[in-house]
Subunit: 124 residues, 10 copies
Amino acid sequence: MADRSILETFPNPKSSRDYLIEHHVHEFTSVCPKTGQPDYATLRVAYVANESCVELKSLKLYLQLFRNEGIFYEDVTNAILDALVAVCRPTWMIVESTWTVRGGIHSVITAQHGQPPAGMPRSS
Amino acid sequence: MADRSILETFPNPKSSRDYLIEHHVHEFTSVCPKTGQPDYATLRVAYVANESCVELKSLKLYLQLFRNEGIFYEDVTNAILDALVAVCRPTWMIVESTWTVRGGIHSVITAQHGQPPAGMPRSS
Amino acid sequence: MADRSILETFPNPKSSRDYLIEHHVHEFTSVCPKTGQPDYATLRVAYVANESCVELKSLKLYLQLFRNEGIFYEDVTNAILDALVAVCRPTWMIVESTWTVRGGIHSVITAQHGQPPAGMPRSS
Amino acid sequence: MADRSILETFPNPKSSRDYLIEHHVHEFTSVCPKTGQPDYATLRVAYVANESCVELKSLKLYLQLFRNEGIFYEDVTNAILDALVAVCRPTWMIVESTWTVRGGIHSVITAQHGQPPAGMPRSS
Amino acid sequence: MADRSILETFPNPKSSRDYLIEHHVHEFTSVCPKTGQPDYATLRVAYVANESCVELKSLKLYLQLFRNEGIFYEDVTNAILDALVAVCRPTWMIVESTWTVRGGIHSVITAQHGQPPAGMPRSS
Amino acid sequence: MADRSILETFPNPKSSRDYLIEHHVHEFTSVCPKTGQPDYATLRVAYVANESCVELKSLKLYLQLFRNEGIFYEDVTNAILDALVAVCRPTWMIVESTWTVRGGIHSVITAQHGQPPAGMPRSS
Amino acid sequence: MADRSILETFPNPKSSRDYLIEHHVHEFTSVCPKTGQPDYATLRVAYVANESCVELKSLKLYLQLFRNEGIFYEDVTNAILDALVAVCRPTWMIVESTWTVRGGIHSVITAQHGQPPAGMPRSS
Amino acid sequence: MADRSILETFPNPKSSRDYLIEHHVHEFTSVCPKTGQPDYATLRVAYVANESCVELKSLKLYLQLFRNEGIFYEDVTNAILDALVAVCRPTWMIVESTWTVRGGIHSVITAQHGQPPAGMPRSS
Amino acid sequence: MADRSILETFPNPKSSRDYLIEHHVHEFTSVCPKTGQPDYATLRVAYVANESCVELKSLKLYLQLFRNEGIFYEDVTNAILDALVAVCRPTWMIVESTWTVRGGIHSVITAQHGQPPAGMPRSS
Amino acid sequence: MADRSILETFPNPKSSRDYLIEHHVHEFTSVCPKTGQPDYATLRVAYVANESCVELKSLKLYLQLFRNEGIFYEDVTNAILDALVAVCRPTWMIVESTWTVRGGIHSVITAQHGQPPAGMPRSS
């Protein structure tokens, strides 16, 4: 499994306020554990930070660790959520992965940690 | 009826968390039991897993078993839901089939098992 | 009025579950009772079955019986709903007809029988 | 003012059921009472009938009576609603007029009679 | 400031009914009080009349009085609302101004008088 | 950090009324504190003023101070909100930043001060 | 075969000039000679008149004669072209029919008489 | 027939240069000579002037003369072209009329006078 | 290989004129000869007939013969062209097949027999 | 007429190469010489420079000189082209003005000086 210690954080610059952070990952690839074939996805990561924010370049490098890893869609989605929760300890986080067509089927997996705080802004 | 024993599962990698799995099947075909003519549909399968997830390649092979089977729209939609529920025992599952035009009419059949758990994420 | 005895049903393959059946009719024509000119419409028929489902080819043939019949928009919409309700005895049914432009005006008529059961799935 | 006696009705073919009737008028023209210049609008007329439905050709002919009449947007919208209410006695009715640009301004006027009954179907 | 006495009204033709009047002004221009450069906006004026309606040509001429006047976005939006409220005494009114790009920024100002009455129709 | 003393205000021309002010900034650039590479964003600033409004040209010049400053997305979004709150003392304010793609990822950060007052108009 | 004597013409009001006439028929229906099932099409008729133009209402009534006639796509398209050529004697004419889906297949048939004159205008 | 003497011209301000003038008429109505029912069209008038240009308000008033006149599509299109050619004596002119649906058919008539000069600009 | 003797023809109803016939096949499926997995395609068949036209229902039944046949994309496209040419002896024919995604790749194969005759109409 | 001496130029930085310069003016207003009412247009100015390029701020100020000037569409379009040609002496230039709706008509005027050089690039 990808080593989550590569993930870096920086102190939340405004921990006194709940605000919304969203990262949209346009390029993600891993390998099917059953066929050895490459899989492709887009990811959406949204969260309300507590003490720490994930540093964007380290997020990119962490996600690249899955490039040659054989892993199911469901597993990698939850693994990314678990890694980011472990490192950032957010108030709330959601990870959604959308996969390209395989055998005439495309899949979408969506997992969240906690619930969004009341009165939180929404991105327009 | 298609033999559901071809369906394989793998252990839910994160059974401690309710999350959303969606498979969109772009290529499905069966045969009209009345006319013997082929029918074509797209399927949406969405669920919250309990102990087991359906393995994607086995899902594809299971759905191919209907290729030469004579069966009504309503029946095949419920049969697929029943088979997946029997094999996966999900917390909640929905199957929606959208059929191509026949005699100037196109049809959509939607069946679900259970109710989506409260606070479950939605795919965006 | 079109003879509804042409409508055939088959036993609901899953009467133990409320699920949604929708038929979209792209080709419907009748005749204006005032001018004798042909009218054209698209129809949406959606229902939750009880014991019986309407067979699709018989539905097509039943709707073709209006081809040379003089009848108002409001009447034909309710007549189709009444015929399908009489034959299928559904838990809930809706019929919506959308008519092409006549004299610079186009019309939409929407009638329903019963209310959709709570917790019923929606087509996406 | 246009003579509403030209409006014809026919008996509601299904007065035992509340259902939705919508007429979309693509071609409407009257004259500005201040400048004598022609005005152009589209109209939406939606209602739930009680005992009577408005006959479509007579509606077209009634609306043509405004072709050379000088009348304000607000007045004609309410006048059409009043005439149709007087003739049909509907459970609920709404008239919405959308006017083309005059002096760089376009206007929309919306008036209703009564309130839509609970549980009434909506056009999709 | 533009002289609001140019605004004309006519008696509300249906004061016994609450209905919605909307004017969309596609062409509005004033001058920036800081730089002397022209500003351009579109306006939306919506209201429920009481005794009086604003006459459309006089509205056009009143708005043209701002053509060479130096005034802030926030000020002109409220000034137009104040003038129309003073002249029409509406039950409810809203004025929204949307301004073209200046220095890479575009702005939208929205002000209202009173609250829309319950059960009022909405334009579709 | 950018010097917020460059921000100018003018007296709210209508402090007796809650109304909505929105500025959409199409051109914003700062520098990534980790890589030294330029970042690009669009900003949405919306608020209900109290005693003061931010003057638009000074807002443009203030935002230009970030052009050569190394600062995280999350930090700059909150810093702009803090500066505008300190200078304008608004009843409510929201700042949303949408960033261009970096390493296959694009981000959106959304922060607000206070809650929108009840009955405030919405821009359409 | 439909009786073309129902077609009426009127004298070309400008036979000294080649100009383009196009009629788009949104509602056409005939019957399949093999299955007895109704077929539906849209038609495009474009021509440069010589001495005569086809009268529009008679064109509508002529095309309605195919409503209950069993005829192949290719035949009806050429038959309409032949009838209009016989009646109007145009300089040039084209008829194109586009048919709705039957058995998963839709068809387009295009036939022309003569060649468009040089320098003829085109509709935009 | 509408009296073309209402058309006014003004001297071509740049007769030393061939340039393109296009007027798009969104509101045109006449009457069907056969049924007495109103017809509606949009017009495109494009030309290269010689000595004279048509004045826009007089063009509007001239076209309004057809409001209550019974005339065929083909005739009115050529009549407008003839009137404008007689009054303006352009180097080249085209008139295109697009009519709303009547009996399920909509029509487009296109007539031109002369040929566009070589090297003439095109509107983008 | 699919038996082409199932294809039926009927005499070209207008062999004195070159005209264009196009059939768009939305539902075609065969089997990959390498993996045994189903393939899905859409087909376009366009031709100018000589003495014979292909009958549409027999075309549908002929194409269904490939449903369980293992055959390469290139082979099936040419085989269909060969069969139709042998049966119809057209002046000109083209067959184009567009296949769904397999392993992130989709393919289009286009083959023709003869050349389109000069001055033949085009479908719009 | 607007004083063209306000227009400034700067030396063409690459007179050894023909290249394309386009300015799109989103905000232009003048006054109708007949009614005294304001007119609004967008302008497209495209050219291949010879020795001189027009300076953008001076172009903006020059075009603002028409703000309160009464002038016909055709005249102002040619006047702007003449002024820019006189000041820049370009190899080729085109000016296109698109005007907002007046009396249900909108107009487009397009004038050019010279012909675009062979092999010049086009903007997409």
